[in-house]
Subunit: 383 residues, 2 copies
Amino acid sequence: MKVLILGADGYLGWPTCMYFSRRGHEVMGVDNYFRRGAAVELDCEPLFPTPNLIRRAEIWEKLSRRTIEVRIGDATDYGFLNRAFEDFRPEVVVHYAEQPSAPYSMVNRDKAALTLTNNLLSTLNIIHAVHESSPDCHIIKLGTMGEYGTPNIDIEEGWLEIEHKGRKDKFLFPRQASSLYHTTKIQDTDLLWFYVRTWGISVTDLMQGPVYGLSTEEANLDESLMPNFNYDEIFGTVLNRFIVQAVAGHPLTIYGRGGQIRGYINLKDTLQCVYLSALNPARRGELRIFNQVTETFSVNELAEKVTRVGEKLGYSVRSNYLPNPRIEKEEHYYNPTYTGLLELGLEPHYLTHETLSEMFQVVEKYKDNINMSAIYRGVKWHK
Amino acid sequence: MKVLILGADGYLGWPTCMYFSRRGHEVMGVDNYFRRGAAVELDCEPLFPTPNLIRRAEIWEKLSRRTIEVRIGDATDYGFLNRAFEDFRPEVVVHYAEQPSAPYSMVNRDKAALTLTNNLLSTLNIIHAVHESSPDCHIIKLGTMGEYGTPNIDIEEGWLEIEHKGRKDKFLFPRQASSLYHTTKIQDTDLLWFYVRTWGISVTDLMQGPVYGLSTEEANLDESLMPNFNYDEIFGTVLNRFIVQAVAGHPLTIYGRGGQIRGYINLKDTLQCVYLSALNPARRGELRIFNQVTETFSVNELAEKVTRVGEKLGYSVRSNYLPNPRIEKEEHYYNPTYTGLLELGLEPHYLTHETLSEMFQVVEKYKDNINMSAIYRGVKWHK
């Protein structure tokens, strides 16, 4: 398979490049280094430095004898992106090329505008490039469970049949998100659904929950192949942050009452899900949607797990209930369905004590790098 | 009331400026002349030239003794827009500053990208400017009935309570549109709904059907005050186009089988609806949605009406069933609710023989200006 990976330098992008490459597929990775720049600008760099994408591909080639082609450029630049499609002729494109942070999108108007234009133009450009240059190319798009928000009804996988006044129709499951970033992902879905119906493109939209972890089989080959691991408030995901906080002796930053429930997934399972989706593509004219999580936890449950494992490992772990800087429900119903990827063959890595212990061990190794000022800045949803 | 009108040079914008001004309100009109430029570029200029916005405001002032303040600039430029809010401190902002054409958005990738970024950035900027400079300002946003598409269930006014597996919640009514332009309006609604919940802004979103007509009480004061009247495939709305086609002796351009049903509204009633919304604002933290139509017709019914009235006036009117350049259902269920604006006091002008005759008479006057090559270009949804 020829696989084009956009956002190839990111937390998920680089492990995905190696995962496909190791399994004998031809990979082209594209990135504009947006996130590296933003992390420097906001003084929230990852826990350890990682080589740039070109150097990573070189190291990978030395260790694996497999080539990953790299292009540095911006998916919002249609000329650049369409050339990549024309030169490479991918059979699958994996779209990670988005501004992925909710707090970043809430800092100010300029960062909201960047999030909006980056995410929507990159998605629009991919759709147009596929239609123009590679009409059979399967688009795998990373969405987010956050698109659904926390409705008072069960969350289905993407779609809902609605009966109203005695008549029926099937629609996208209702979406209402709790940040500008998450709202741009809803808007991406709107875009994809329109062009799927109009041009008959083939799309898998993966509604992913917050990802945790930093170990993958490929990354474990060499320290220089590890993913960018953010633990700050802007780009870090909650479980990754809690572990760094525990190691650093910083109280766990629980927002509000901590009753917020979300679906979570191990980085290793993200790779499986994307790979399984690529092996079993959506049909032409199909927008196939999977909920990409393996278990659900409240923030309090995560904090308890981190506390328990941390204390076993000798850390003294405290929690701090902070006034919630976000606007979100702190106690709510939450019951998502997530069977589609299991049916494709996903074998979940659950959040065990062992997984948590491993994460503590890696973080401990880089403990001296922790920038305490990045842990909590308090980007508020409402000024 | 201090009313800021964005897109003040447009088909709806300029009549709205005069409507508020005549009723004693303080009006600032803003436009970037996008549509004038696009009409020249695509060789589809309006039926008769209109003075630019500054000249129109001068003429209006001479005739009415009332001032309309004008600023020429782009709502996607946040610095410019926010200065307008800070200087003028509006109590209401009417947002017409969008690329309004479905075919324009389907011409190619660049015009799709322009539609997407213009419509979403203008909406984002208005929201941020309101939040930053005028938090009590009521946003009146022009949406479109096209956001709903043609579902197989009754269309409610913006919202739907859904029962699923024994639990209930209320959501935005499902939206799925049939052009990129209409999709950007869905995305606008996503944006507004997020910020309404987060910042407690006050928004009225008017889901308008295709507008027809060119006469308003204010415009009738002087020929130079008439609205821009487009009759071409790109910027013209269907009934306006049919009347020009009938006058020009061009067969009416019916797409496909002509069974497409939509809700329609007279330009005079658009003005009433916006005015009534301004007088009765949405609450803080409310996204209030009205379906802004007064009757529904199929394309075939419109063609029949135009034929009947045209032939009475001595025109020989033919119809041409063209292969549909769009992708849309040509026979479908369609039952929208539209009671909210009637309850606010809207007194509809229905599509009578008299209304049609008046439109024929005005168009006849400018018959020699008709550019036959602009009537049908065949912008296809699928290449």
